[in-house]
Amino acid sequence: MKDGKQWYFMEEKYPELGNLMPRDITAREIWKVSHESEVFLDMTEISEEIISNKLSGLADDCMTYLHKDIRKEPVSVLPGIHYFMGGILVDEQHRTPIQNLCAAGECCAQYHGANRLGGNSLLGALYGGRVAAKSACEQADVVDLSCATQIDFPPASQISEIKQLNKVMQETMGVVRNENTLLNGIQTVQALTGNLPLLGMAVLKSALARKESRGAHWREDYPKSNDDDYLKTTVARFDGKQIQISFVPVPERR
């Protein structure tokens, strides 16, 4: 809302694509405006036919969980986590660096880069699933499955620590990031024990090391992309004591 009237800010700023701009841009615009006013998604102009045929699940859920009829009123929205572009590092055959361990789907990282485009998680599910299964079957014939490497992970975190971790990650790894909040975040997370803070540390350190903006990773201290230094994949590795960050080149285009 602006001056008491509904302000369609995406349509105004991006006349060609409006609210169909890529998600990272839309998320940042929503986040910026949300500091001044509540932000809504207006679905009231969508035809009844489309709602019944394609959006009935959504309409149902909004009614059940939000008590809102999307046909009649706009629904309050805020950016939230939808997809994790990072994850377990895998090769083209979906094998991980650990012998006999393959990974597929959202838990692993290979093809989406810094910005997974809409609908493309199907790639990870269908293609990734099939390839990982194939690799696993090939490996199972060759190597004894009982020789997995064991790493001792810290025990589970306390509930109060998880709450602290939630707060830190929310504040430092949101839509807009900068060096100061990232450094503070790292300090706070250092003091927490358990598995989840370890993952959080890997994410924070990777974000700190990438001194540029790319896709969903947007830094207000480095708002532009820097292909010369950062057209690479960040890799975080736990050596038993610390998280180590390095960069590996992206595969050659074929």
């Binding site: 859920d61 059940t64 969980y65 008590h67 509930i159 109060s160 709450k163």
Partner: protein, 255 residues
Amino acid sequence: MIYKIRIRRQESQKSDSYWQEFEFDGSKNSSVANVLKELNSRTPLKDNSGNIVTPISWECSCMVRKCGACAMLINERPRLACSTFLHTLKGSTITLKPLSKFPLVRDLIVDRSILFENLKKLNLWLESEAYMNPWTHEPRYQSARCLMCGCCLEVCPNFSANGTFAGTVAAVNAFRILNEEQESTHLNEISAEYKKRFFEGCGKSLSCHDICPIGLPVEELLVRSNAAAVWGANKMDDKSYNECMKRVSQNHQIR
């Protein structure tokens, strides 16, 4: 509003069960899942007698009835905790128990792997490319929506974890495979297992249809799966088959 939450707890399958009571002061629009999350966020968690107790073990994932993880007995009925709102329950005492038909793991968590094991025994996978019959798109989609939550098995008078009968969850999931499989040898294998593990055990009480937390057209899917696996209705041409199914479905109450 103040609610009394009674939860049946148990540390493991071998230990004794016992009851614990908690007070929840919150909106009547809260779901049972909201209540459990709030209880577990208390540091420390104390029961109504003032004892400090361990957080309640329960499963949940999506919180919006897409995954089926949070199925439990709420005031004696199997329901999804995320979608059961306090104001829909009678009175101000809410009783929570784990599903009774499955081996207990801890507190409100049970082991539902039998659902998946039964689907494997029924051979529910494709050996050929799927045949996508446009006439059966809607029931195939409904067949795929099944959450595998186990509520239908909980109310079924014929299902037990030790028996051969796989229950409605099998019949519902079977439909899309029975309709899409083109490899006739495999289709016959699925049909044989279906007869043995579903058709011969179903007494048609249809409590499953009533309890399904996402309102699947359970009865219609049972009819269609029976037609395909038992009566060989796949031999009809697509359009006639679907028209026959429509007539059959119209004779039943469909949700």
